[in-house]
Point group: C2
Chain length 477, copies 2
């Protein structure tokens, strides 16, 4: 029995079809009225991913997008897509479908959302172009739930084609501007669906690991009263009759939480940097994953916790998100990610020696340039067979003012970066927890003490030694 | 054997003590040098919360803050605090401690962080003022790790005293300005420690529940190019040579993710409102918890998912955070929170009837004022014995432009708020997923279509019916 919601709107069919005589299937297709929660039909919608041979010969309802359609005589083949899954559907003239109904189905614009009732049929030959390869859906009813406009600004199949393959075969790919101008459609591709699930998974694994380690999640302020980490690269906000600023990192706040006895804190949130450069390392807004932790005697206690957290993320992704990783790999092929346990930790002077041996000229207190970072990544991969490592003991001169100097060597510091495939992904350090030393270092860096008074004062009433790091957090230098 | 880290700094003791002859305990106390990760001693620090009779007669090392100290003849009693736990420690002249050592201990400023070696001793009479009531620590060594300044701007014991009790007994409490000016100390109280853990727990339970339900976590942009939800209450940012704005909610972005096939999304992040009012309902920056979800036929599918998510948070807090709830209750007494399963859902017209019966005069299309919200909360509690309920079917006139009208009654809408103890904590609705109706409603609200073009366009290529809600998200009207 067709429910009210599906039968109501036959009057919305194109006039030509309405005019055609004796359409014996006229109740079986059409454009549904806009769903305004008019009713609660007692109907189960089956997921496309659940359409397998286990459901063979069952009658099911499915809601999906029209990914492609192809009319062929008295038949119309549709590919129905639901997120990263798709299935072939067939509308063929017969008991359930009239000629008019096949024509209606063939004319539904791609990306429209439809409700379909059909019988799941096992197929003899695997359907290579669909994720559901062993079945197809023999359509008995078809209603448009939300009609797409006829001309799509980009084709989803083009958007997931690897660049190289497109070039070689003269087939279309989609350039970045078109993607960004039509982001809602670009995000429907299997690759984008996988990337967003991986991003969600990374945040989840990060939090899950840290909460299991006893960390407390905090939320730090984004609108702040002073450009607390130096005036450069800070966005100004009109704040009623005054100016305020957007926080360039949660650095000061997470440290203040350590002084407030939370011992182990983390946060995930937006970070704002007024950097007017067009590189993938310089974004005006990005999501930072931050950790801060009191330690007992040595900052390596913290380095180990952070490295283990990253390893748990790597493992969790490999265990729980294999489908998504493979989906992304189809469009962006790359070698499997390698890491060691325990994580490789090199000292900065060792890295310098490796680079010098490879012909690079660098001073002892010089920072790594992006090309040298990448070269070092390759050298480390060759020597140690890992895509992930820690570089420890950076020169003090290239680190922020709150970095703890190395007591053995005043030109070094208790600071570290972590690298994936030759790019820095995390920067961290033991922080200075003594207000006098912190004041001295801030003055040395030419920082206005008045602007960081609350920060420095937070160390005056007993502060534990602590260290931390930020992911996606390029250090302010 | 004292390790290097503890024995090094006897020269830092006050001169008077150094001058005293024959201090047989002089290696057993002092101010440690700043921990700069000089070494990795092989020492286990025991948590204060683990100091129980099971450890009786063991020698342990503990790092904690000096919460209070009280010298009494040849003895000094310290209360050592670690987060929300504390234990009594005793330094008494004897084999391990000299007169000078007891004096040293008695003179350590409150809130200083110390390392203590001591024997755990069972006590005959419970120590009512400490969380560890059955043991005390007999101190053998004591070293200051981080010295607090002598004058504390507020006393922790004052800061956790219930206002009423303070007033009645003429004892000190701490006013809000002092708390905010010394936030790092105020956050050390057992109440603040509990509140922050509850906040962290709420976010964790929210995410855990939604990820189990198949939701994807998203991050939405905060710096945006146009004041997309109406020009009022928006902060302007200087963005290089142009102006940009701070997002007033993730509303448009989470809906666009639904149009991009994510089906179920959530996000937790900062929300910015330029509201120049001093109420606890009008903050310029707060953390919003947002949900958006495609549904099949009726927005109540989404209402049920959201209500269940809140119920899972209530239950999770009661199960996993009982200690924290009780801690907060000591300072802020309140009745246990009551809720029903399934959640009570009232229609707006029913609420109007209840209010009118209680003598309130209100028009059918009038919004609830804050006093009426609170009164309604009391009436619902009396009648249904619940602190949590849903109010459904708000007048269309008081809701944002993207709210789906009720097809049965054009003055009503498919929208809802959720209430806890008589205050709105969530606002949500079925959203308009049809670009033409959305355009009409935006024009009706006087919204500049050019500013929301990308948003409206996102519904042009097939959009599923969807609904959602925001917690901590007062609707923009």
């Amino acid at each position: 029995m067709p429910s009210a919601i599906t039968s109501r709107k036959t009057q919305e069919k194109p006039r030509e079809i309405m005019d055609a005589a004796e359409d014996y299937a006229k109740e079986r297709y059409g454009v549904s009225s806009m769903i305004q929660s008019q009713e609660k039909p007692d109907r189960v919608l089956v997921r496309v991913s659940d359409l397998t041979v286990q459901k063979a010969d069952e009658v099911v309802w499915v809601r999906a997008r029209v990914h492609t359609s192809r009319a062929k005589g008295k038949q119309c083949f549709l590919v129905l897509r639901q997120q990263q899954f798709n299935v072939q559907a067939l509308v063929a003239v017969g008991d359930h479908a009239s000629k008019q109904m096949v024509k209606f189905a063939a004319n539904i614009n791609k990306e429209s959302i439809i409700d379909v009732e059909g019988v799941v049929r096992k197929v003899n030959q695997k359907i290579g172009s669909c994720t559901q390869q062993d079945v197809e859906l023999h359509v008995q009813k078809i209603y448009v739930i939300s009609l797409a406009e006829p001309r799509l600004p980009l084709q989803l199949d083009d958007a997931i084609r690897p660049e190289v393959e497109g070039e070689e075969e003269g087939r279309a790919t989609v350039n970045q501007d078109t993607r960004l101008d039509n982001r809602v459609i670009d995000l429907r591709t299997s690759t984008s669906q996988a990337v967003f699930r991986l991003q969600s998974g990374i945040c989840h694994l990060f939090r899950e690991t840290l909460i299991n380690k006893g960390f407390v999640e905090i939320q730090t302020p984004k609108i702040i009263s002073a450009a607390s980490e130096g005036g450069a690269n800070v966005f100004t906000v009109s704040y009623f009759k005054n100016n305020a600023y957007l926080a360039q990192s949660p650095q000061l706040y997470k440290q203040m939480c350590i002084c407030a006895d939370f011992e182990k804190v983390f946060c995930i949130g937006p970070v704002f940097r007024a950097e007017d450069s067009n590189t993938h390392r310089h974004l005006t807004e990005f999501v930072g994953l931050d950790i801060e932790m009191a330690f007992n005697y040595h900052y390596h206690e913290v380095v180990e916790e952070i490295a283990d957290t990253l390893v748990q993320i790597f493992k969790g992704l490999q265990e729980r998100f294999q489908t998504e990783i493979q989906t992304v790999n189809k469009q962006f092929p790359c070698e499997p990610f390698k890491f060691l346990e325990p994580t490789l930790r090199l000292e900065y002077c060792e890295a310098l020696a490796m680079l010098r041996e490879a012909g690079i000229e660098m001073g002892d207190e010089e920072d790594l340039s992006t090309p040298n970072e990448k070269l070092l990544g390759r050298l480390v991969k060759e020597k140690y067979d890992t895509d992930f490592y820690i570089l420890d003991k950076y020169p003090l001169a290239v680190r922020p003012f709150y970095t703890m100097p190395d007591p053995r060597n005043p030109k070094q510091s208790n600071s570290y970066d972590m690298f994936m495939r030759g790019e820095e992904i995390l920067s961290g350090a033991q922080r200075i927890h003594d207000p006098q030393l912190l004041t001295d270092r801030a003055l040395h860096h030419g920082i206005d003490l008045e602007k960081i008074k609350a920060y420095i004062d937070s160390f005056r009433f007993g502060a534990p030694p602590h260290a931390g790091g930020g992911i996606g957090n390029i250090p302010l230098r």
